[in-house]
């Protein structure tokens, strides 16, 4: 190689380096949260190249309250109130799987009527949760009507749950061995009336929100999570069902009386943000259908709570039970060493599992799509942090 050629190649190398540095300078790091006008208590940093996101790093843990450690200091019954705090608007479901696991450890039978009431409470609660989620989704996309309508309808359902359980959001209603108390007088008719009204409203939601051309443009074809990726990432709940996997714990592993209930697993095959936003609505519709059947088949009278010892304890062992919550599978892994307190409690929540899909979906999509993608993952930060 002659001297001149060497000099030229050296220049090219330097030039390339400069170009590379300039490329790196083009990337900008944005920190989103924990104070931002969507859902707070969650932060992620994104690197953008112009309008496109090239890197995303979630940073949860702003509401990490050490639930799992606190469980080891309380007995099985004392654990109920603080375990429902991670998702206070879906509190019946998060205590449902805990109750199932404790029942398996302590070996209690649940009366048949209690199983129905539990299922009704958890179905109503799923709707309360999904409505709140939908309201925030409306806010995320700048659709104020969609904030007002679901929050308004949610209050009606909350009234119903308040009559049933005595509290607005923190019910502590599903307990090991059944439910805390029987349904109030006239609950059945009220519930049926409410469900009929609600089914009509769901049609209106569809008209104003889901058929809105602006929403369609912002969500359709955005952030496609293919079926293979969804399975690989282990996402759950509506995110999974929107990716074309008809998987629902109520169908896959029926707990309590769900094997007697006739319903379909709602899923879509388009795999985009719109599907992830639409599947919860389909779920709510199916949930109304389930509540009707539950009310119809419920025994007219009977025990609602198996008798428990003051400090229930079982033989040493472990249990892993899960239910389908508003955000997908919600499992409890409890290890008992034979004392009234659990030795180890692990809460496997849907939000934490869906979080893995966030970097996967955001990388490559536009910055403007970030809100619609983030909230379509059905992610509730408080639950993910536990």
């Amino acid at each position: 190689m002659s001297d001149q050629e060497e000099r030229i190649s050296e220049t090219t190398r330097l030039g390339l380096e400069i170009v590379k540095e300039a490329e790196e300078d083009r990337l900008m790091t944005l920190s989103v949260g924990p104070q931002h006008p969507g859902s707070g208590h969650f932060r992620f940093t994104v690197k953008v190249d112009g309008d496109y996101i090239v890197d995303c790093d979630p940073d949860p843990g702003y509401v990490h309250r050490g639930e799992e450690k606190m469980c080891e200091y309380r007995n099985f019954i004392q654990n109920i109130p603080h375990l429902e705090r991670p998702v206070i608007h879906d509190s019946s479901n998060i205590t449902y799987s805990y109750s199932l696991a404790v029942e398996e450890l302590v070996k209690i039978d649940v009366p048949r009527r209690a199983q129905f009431i539990r299922a009704i409470a958890s179905e109503l609660n799923r709707q309360v949760y999904t409505l709140y989620w939908l309201a925030i989704y409306g806010i995320f996309l700048g659709h104020s009507t969609m904030f007002m309508w679901p929050t308004g309808d949610r209050e009606l359902l909350i009234d119903l749950l308040e009559a049933l359980t005595g509290a607005r959001v923190t019910h502590a209603y599903n307990i090991p061995g059944g439910v805390r108390n029987d349904i109030p007088y006239g609950f059945k008719d009220r519930c049926l009336r409410q469900v009929s009204y609600f089914e009509g409203r769901l049609k209106e939601y569809e008209d104003i929100f889901y058929n809105n051309p602006l929403l369609r443009q912002r969500t359709e074809g955005v952030a496609v999570l293919t079926k293979e990726d969804a399975i690989k990432l282990g996402v759950t709940g509506s995110v999974l069902r929107a990716s074309g996997v008809p998987y629902d714990i109520r169908k896959a592993e029926p707990y309590d009386i769900y094997d007697e209930i006739d319903f379909n697993v709602q899923y879509m095959k388009t795999c985009d943000s719109f599907a992830r936003a639409y599947v919860p609505l389909l779920d709510m519709r199916e949930s109304c259908h389930i509540i009707r059947q539950l009310l119809d088949k419920m025994p007219e009278s009977g025990e609602v709570r198996a008798k428990l010892q003051p400090n229930p304890k079982g033989p040493p062992g472990e249990a892993y039970r899960r239910v389908e919550s508003g955000r997908g599978a919600l499992g409890y892994y409890i290890v008992s060493d034979g004392t009234p307190r659990p030795y180890r409690v692990k809460i496997s929540v849907g939000s934490f599992r869906n979080l893995l899909a966030l970097p996967h979906l955001l990388v490559g999509s536009k910055l403007g799509d970030m809100p619609s993608v983030y909230w379509s993952l059905n992610y509730w930060p408080v639950e993910a942090d536990r």
């Binding site: 990490h64 309250r65 450690k69 206070i88 309201a135 308004g152 209050e155 959001v169 408080v382």
Partner: protein, 171 residues
Amino acid sequence: MIKDLVNPSNFNLMVSKVGDILVRALDTPLGYAINWGRVWSLWPVHLETACCSVEFGAASGPRYDVERFGIIEAFGSLRQCDLVVVQGTVTRKMAPRLRMVYDQMPEPKYVIAMGACAITGGLYIDSYNVLPGVDGIIPVDVYVPGCPPRPETLIQGTMLLQEKIKRSKIK
């Protein structure tokens, strides 16, 4: 004395004296007007710290509608806000951020501690990652108890804060 003041070399002094007189004359009506403005435009920062945010969201919904009390659901920057509603548990990771948000807000600013966790630590008093009350890091004006507080309680708390602002003196 007036002659001394009119002297150009004492101009600054004169302006301050006249200013003092003006302020004394206008203090009460102007203060009333400013306070009136502050009372009806309490814009909260959209910083959610824990699960009480669900009830905060319900409070801005159509049934409770806090906008009629001047608390506008905030979607803007915290530079335009003058109220922090600490919505529940403050963890050790969130505490520096909360303080940072508070420091970045312009004066005057008010704080409502919402929920038992924000007041004393509540249910999570023995957790390893939770602050026993938010008043260790920022000054609190109104405490709203409950776990979580009902929206009505939150509204009552903000009305208490409005009373407090009405009675406070303008600096």
